[in-house]
């Protein structure tokens, strides 16, 4: 059984990333479940998906302390999931910062020590600079697939399964771009 949390900010494509992983897991014969947060999250709020796959999956929600992977699309967002870490959890974090409303309107500051804190306290953390990968892919919108590419390095699935799943879920004109993004992400770790 593997439990993966994807999280980020509304509009970053968290749900699509989890869908691709689910397709790949299903194709490999696993039972798979996912849980996502909709609604209010669409207006710039935090977005999160839990994906679990294995022989038989009951709960779509991951229990605290039991995530195998946490993939955070934004730096601050990674800090909201620390309860789900254990000593073996791999935490992949996109270095990008997106100011939340309280920072935008000037009542709070974006914490400056997050990277330092993560490096100090989280055993298996990888803070990824995705800028070049996104330039390489030719679109910032492919961040979700770049992060998925990084995650794929830790999973057993064949490259062709990932490509098939991307082809099945992304609009035809963006497939090539996304596969490029996936490979660039895979090379980041």
């Amino acid at each position: 059984m593997k439990s993966v949390i994807f999280n980020g900010v509304g509009g970053q494509g968290v749900i699509l990333a989890s869908k691709v992983l689910m397709e790949v897991a299903m194709k490999n014969g696993y039972d798979v479940k996912e849980s996502e947060v909709h609604g209010m999250a669409q207006r710039g709020g935090s977005v999160e998906c839990n994906v679990r796959f294995g022989e038989k999956v009951y709960s779509p929600l991951i229990q605290k302390g039991k995530a195998d992977f946490i993939v955070s699309f934004e730096l601050l967002e990674s800090m909201r999931k620390t309860d789900y870490l254990n000593d073996d959890t791999v935490l992949l974090v996109n270095r990008e910062q997106i100011n939340p409303a309280p920072v935008e309107i000037g009542v709070m500051e974006y914490p400056s020590d997050i990277e330092e804190w993560l490096e100090k306290n989280v055993k298996n953390v990888k803070i990824l600079d995705t800028k070049d990968a996104l330039i390489g892919a030719g679109t910032k919108k492919a961040l979700n697939i770049v992060m998925l590419g990084s995650l794929s390095k830790y999973l057993e699935f064949e490259l062709s399964d990932w490509e098939d799943a991307i082809k099945g879920l992304v609009k035809e004109q963006f497939v090539e771009q996304n596969i490029k993004a996936f490979n660039l992400g895979r090379a980041l770790v």
């Binding site: 798979v32 302390g65 909201r80 306290n121």
Partner: protein
């Protein structure tokens, strides 16, 4: 058999299609919206529509059912409050074509104003209620619900929660059953609920409860999964999955039909285990029932009544396992990321002006409810769809017209059509002098841009008559109706100042398309 990864709501749409459903009507509301959107996109054999509100949607589906079609009505938990009137009486009439209501509760209030537990509606309206535990069951139970509806001549409610509606899983796909639309048969004793017809109907449905309870015990929807005999856990919905996850060795009575509850099965289960537990989200619905049967059970004394359950809550309550933290607490302040109005949102212009004028704001349900948060902090009451206008009048009744002169009601286009028109009639009829702003962004934005009667398009994408909000306001007797573009904030301020100080009812329609809508 083919299978597919599906969202719970997509699985329900699929189940309805496979069951041969002909007509579907609902009103958007998280977490129920995707059901009808999926039908409109993928299962166009079903005539699907957004109605102006849930009451109308339920009545349209009831009419289609009585006319002989298999019918579906979908809504969120608070939507069923709006539709409660027809719900209770169509419980008496029964159906002709199968009639299924999908009701989506929101434990945790992820995108709702309360956490009500709608299992109580099944008991109160005496209707069979099913509750799936996964997307796969969502499809299966929706199909089953049509079968039960026709078998017992009753409306059937399928209750889901956010964690079923918005979770994905592998769903097996079947073919569409070919169900012809039956003939409408005139039968006033069945379909016209004058007191003389209602009294015997009530008696009949009470007598029928025993028969449905029997079905509840034997249909397989409720089932015992024997494990260790020390602990027996009765559970339903998503909580079943958490129980299976953290207590894999205990015996479980899985409740898939939450009303009527299966007394014989409960007796059998209770006799087979040493200790009885009930793990359920929100109210002690099953627990109270089992206690009334005379059993001692552990339930809400260890499982929280408020909020969503999670695997760790159940693990701690049943096994005493506490989450071990792998990292220390972060010492600094982490800014939250609350949802907010988008950059360039037309509602934001209106709130800027209202804030400047420092008015009391009676708010309503939609994106604009976010006006309560900084930087606007410009909303002071809000409760349910359409409440803003009636509350606005009530405040004036409490303090006189001076109150109306420093207050405003704000309501969106879809919400106004949903349930804002009748209170506007009241405001005029009972001599209010208040000002109502209809924030017309040309869509139902909060739930994801659904069409409504003022957009001129149907759910199925057809062109239709475009409701004229200005003409409606005038027709109910508001003489001062002004339509302006809120982007011109100076003009809005001028108009709003004039209207609040005028001692007669007025409506300002701030018309500008949602910034996210192409």
């Amino acid at each position: 058999m083919t299978s597919k990864v599906m969202l719970g709501n997509e699985a329900i749409a699929r189940g309805a299609w496979e069951a041969g459903c002909h007509v579907a009507a609902g009103y958007p509301g998280t977490p129920s919206t995707e059901i009808l959107e999926t039908i409109a996109a993928d299962y166009r054999d079903i005539k699907a529509q957004w109605s102006p509100n849930e009451k109308v949607a339920l009545e349209v589906a009831a009419g289609a059912s009585i006319a002989g079609a298999r019918s579906l009505s979908t809504m969120k938990h608070v939507g069923l409050n709006v539709a409660a009137d027809p719900l209770f009486t169509f419980s008496y009439t029964g159906v002709n074509g199968g009639f299924v209501i999908i009701n989506a509760d929101d434990p945790g209030a992820w995108s709702s104003q309360n956490e009500q537990d709608n299992r109580h509606y099944a008991r109160a309206a005496k209707l069979p209620m099913l509750e799936p535990s996964s997307p796969a069951e969502a499809r299966e139970f929706t199909k089953k619900a049509f079968e039960i509806s026709e078998k017992f001549d009753r409306t059937v409610i399928v209750r889901i929660t956010t964690r079923i509606a918005h979770s994905q899983g592998i769903v097996e796909l079947g073919d569409r059953e070919n169900v012809p639309v039956k003939d409408f048969v005139r039968d006033p004793k069945k379909y016209v609920m004058i007191p003389a017809h209602a009294r015997p109907k009530h008696k009949k449905i009470e007598e029928q409860q025993a028969e449905i309870m029997d079905y509840s015990c034997t249909s397989g929807l409720n089932r015992i999964e024997w494990g260790g005999k020390k602990r027996g856990i009765i559970t339903n919905g998503i909580a079943y999955q958490y129980v299976k996850e953290v207590c894999p060795d205990d015996s479980v009575l899985k409740i898939g039909m939450v009303w009527p509850l299966p007394e014989k099965l409960i007796n059998e289960f209770a006799a087979g285990v040493e200790e009885l537990y009930v793990v359920e989200e929100l109210d002690p619905f099953i627990e109270d029932y089992v206690k009334a049967m005379g059993y001692e059970v552990k339930g809400k004394d260890i499982i929280p009544l408020c909020g969503e359950l999670t695997p760790e809550i159940v693990d701690e309550a049943l096994n005493g396992n506490k989450t071990v933290k792998a990292v220390p607490e972060y010492a600094g302040d982490l800014p939250g990321r609350p949802p907010g109005l988008c950059k360039g949102c037309p509602h934001a212009f209106v709130f800027d002006v209202i804030k400047k004028l420092d008015l009391n704001v009676n708010g309503d349900i939609g994106c604009y409810t976010l006006g309560v948060l900084p930087p606007y902090s410009a909303m002071h009451t809000q409760g349910c769809m359409g409440a803003s206008i009636g509350m606005h009048l009530g405040m004036e009744k409490a303090h006189g017209p001076e109150m109306a002169a420093k207050s405003v009601a704000v309501i969106g286009d879809s919400t106004f059509i949903h349930s804002g028109i009748t209170p506007l009639i009241d405001l005029v009829y009972n001599k209010g002098t208040g000002t109502v702003i209809i924030m017309d962004n040309r869509t139902t934005a909060m739930t994801g841009h659904q069409e409504n009667p003022a957009t001129g398009k149907t759910l199925m994408g057809e062109e239709t008559f475009e409701l004229d909000l200005e003409a409606i306001c005038k027709a109910v007797g508001v003489k001062r109706v002004r339509v302006i573009d809120p982007k011109d904030k100076d003009e809005l301020e001028k108009v709003l100042s004039e209207e609040i100080s005028t001692r007669e009812p007025s409506v300002i329609i701030t018309k500008r398309k949602c910034i996210l809508k192409r």
